[in-house]
């Protein structure tokens, strides 16, 4: 177990009581509505807030155990923290902010100043005063500073929340490359599902101070409690696929997902590249016969595994496509007329595929 967290804390009328785990290197997203206690959880992990009772273990090291009276102070936990408001030191310039972290770093060094600067594209900002930075630049510096403290874990508390859409798009790729190139484990707090889809390998779903569901992103994308939170239009199976190559005549990219294959439009990607796709339930059509004479190019053969009432007047048809599930939304009338029932062979026709960035597949986790 890489990271295990359990914490209980009463704050006025708000009660936090959570337990979750990140089993392997990756990114665990703490996802839930504002005020559900996500920031409180990361503060407990960082050591900035003492829970009434709890345990935090990271890579075999006990950081906190209230029963045994263990509580390693925040400054010795080697956990990086990127705050929503960046919290750069205003009396230092960018280079000094970065050096502040580097000088105090303990333990093995795995990121050099040059690497952090090139990874986050900070070269031109180094001599800049902090108040002369844009919001996106500020967060990039904050991420670099946290990295240079050589942390064993990186906490990111809504690092993009204060940015507009354009700036978010500017920072997100940097976060992806941290995940992919440094394979640093992260806890990512967000209330935006699109960010979670881009970055997370695991989701911990929180609601009013408790964890209501947790698991890998694929399994969680099918979870009813997550569906309830993100709204019917965002519902859809998330699948991690692998690029097979280019589809000659169409110019599309062939992507293997579970037991099927999709042709999608993507910027050039080498065979073997891991891609994350989301098949929105509203973009899937169900057919009980082998589809022919249709304009839809992508279809996945499978077997109906469940019919789920989705509380918005339609049904979600879960289809097993050979090792993974996809969801299709159909009207209740269609369910009846097609005689959809578990066990029935079906074809899922995919009208469009949403690409959700690269997916993280870490074969080896380099550090202890």
């Amino acid at each position: 177990m890489l990271l295990a967290v359990a914490a209980a804390k009463k704050l006025g009328s708000f009660a936090l009581n959570v337990a979750f785990e990140l089993p392997a290197p990756g990114v665990v997203a703490l996802f839930g509505p504002s005020g559900c206690g996500k920031t409180t959880v990361v503060n407990v992990i960082a050591g900035l807030l003492a829970p009434d009772a709890g345990e935090v273990t990271l890579g075999g090291t006990v950081l906190l155990d209230t029963r045994r009276g263990t509580d390693i102070p925040a400054e010795r936990r080697r956990i990086g923290y990127v705050f929503q408001d960046a919290r750069l030191f205003p009396h230092l310039n960018v280079a000094s902010n970065l050096n502040f972290a580097l000088r105090r770093a303990t333990g093995p060094r795995y990121v050099s100043l040059d690497e952090a600067v090139s990874l986050l594209d900070l070269g031109k900002l180094m001599a800049r005063r902090v108040h002369r930075l844009s919001g996106g630049e500020r967060q990039r510096v904050a991420i670099g500073r946290a990295l240079l403290s050589q942390p064993r874990l990186l906490l990111l508390d809504e690092p993009l929340a204060a940015l507009d859409q354009e700036r978010r798009e500017e920072v997100l790729p940097y976060l992806e490359s941290l995940r992919d190139r440094l394979a640093i484990p992260m806890v990512y707090v967000s209330h935006r599902f699109d960010e979670v889809l881009r970055l997370a390998t695991h989701i911990v779903l929180m609601q009013s101070g408790t964890v209501v569901a947790q698991g890998g992103i694929g399994a969680m994308s099918l979870d009813a409690r997550l569906r309830a939170l993100i709204g019917p239009d965002a519902v859809g199976a998330v699948l991690d696929g692998v690029v097979l190559g280019e589809d000659g005549p169409s110019g599309l990219t062939r992507v293997r997902i579970a037991g099927g294959e999709l042709k999608v439009q993507t910027p050039k990607a080498a065979p073997g590249t891991a891609l994350r796709v989301q098949l929105l339930a509203r973009d899937l059509i169900v057919s009980t016969q082998m589809p022919q004479h249709l304009s839809v190019r992508n279809n996945l053969k499978g077997v109906v595994s469940a019919i789920i009432d989705d509380d918005s007047g339609s049904d979600l048809i879960a289809i097993d496509i050979g090792g993974a599930q996809v969801l299709a939304r159909v009207t209740k009338a269609a369910t009846r007329e097609l005689g959809l029932a578990p066990g029935l062979p079906t074809w899922a026709l995919v009208k469009s595929v949403s690409l959700r960035g690269r997916s993280f597949t870490s074969a080896a986790y380099p550090r202890g």
Partner: protein, 233 residues
């Protein structure tokens, strides 16, 4: 620009003495003021409001009363005065160090107030950020809190310096009015007024005080601007 060419011996003596007393006064009170401001802002202890009131006492007491209390405590037979002299050979009464102590006590509340305001304005989140980057308590204070307090420290020190230059009642009560040792500018001005025909001398001393004060205000404003720019405000 030798001041002795346009100042009389007595005037330049009073000026030098005033500056020396005010500098000592600031030097004495800076560290304790930081400590007290810290305790009053961040401390959670019993008797905090009592400490707060005690610090502000010189603002509401007649300066002569403060001088009298100092006389009782730090005089040759006083609780502290006797020991300071016996153990360290430090004499306060009738000395410029005594004058500095009297002015330090009088200006202490001003200094604490200025430092406290700047401490209150520091975003505690920055200290938390420093913690997650591996900075322990002393390190955080020296590397983050102190530099961010700089505008307040500077404002406090300058205010206290000028308050010290002008302090009269506490000084004359505690250390008397000895030329060359405790006769600072305001005391010299007072003495000049007491002498028959001393009006011209008094006017010169008053003008000197005005020039000193005006120059000080300009310099402190210039400093404050530089510090603000350094902190990016």
């Amino acid at each position: 620009m030798d001041p002795s060419t346009w100042l009389s011996a007595g005037e330049s003596e009073a000026l030098r003495l005033s500056l020396s007393v005010a500098l000592r006064s600031v030097a004495f009170s800076l560290a304790p003021a930081i400590l007290v401001a810290w305790l009053l802002t961040r401390g959670r202890f019993l008797g905090r409001s009592l400490l707060d009131a005690a610090v502000h006492l010189p603002l509401v007491l007649p300066p002569v009363a403060v001088g009298y209390v100092l006389l009782v405590l730090f005089g040759t037979r006083g609780v502290f005065g006797a020991r300071l002299e016996r153990w360290f050979g430090i004499e306060l009464i009738f000395t410029r160090n005594g004058a500095a102590l009297a002015t330090a006590v009088m200006s202490f509340p001003l200094m604490v107030r200025a430092i406290r305001i700047s401490l209150d304005n520091i975003d505690r989140g920055l200290e938390d950020a420093a913690r997650t980057l591996g900075a322990g308590p002393l390190d955080r204070f020296a590397a983050i809190t102190l530099p961010l307090m700089l505008p307040g420290l500077l404002a406090g020190a300058i205010t206290a310096f000028f308050a010290a230059l002008g302090e009269f009642g506490a000084v004359i009560t505690f250390v008397s009015n000895i030329p060359g040792e405790t006769r600072t500018l305001p005391l010299a001005l007072y003495s000049a007024l007491q002498e028959p025909g001393g009006e011209v001398a008094a006017a010169r001393l008053a003008i000197l005080s005005v020039i000193l004060g005006l120059g000080g205000l300009l310099v402190s404003e210039w400093f404050a601007q530089r510090v603000r720019r350094m902190l990016g405000r």
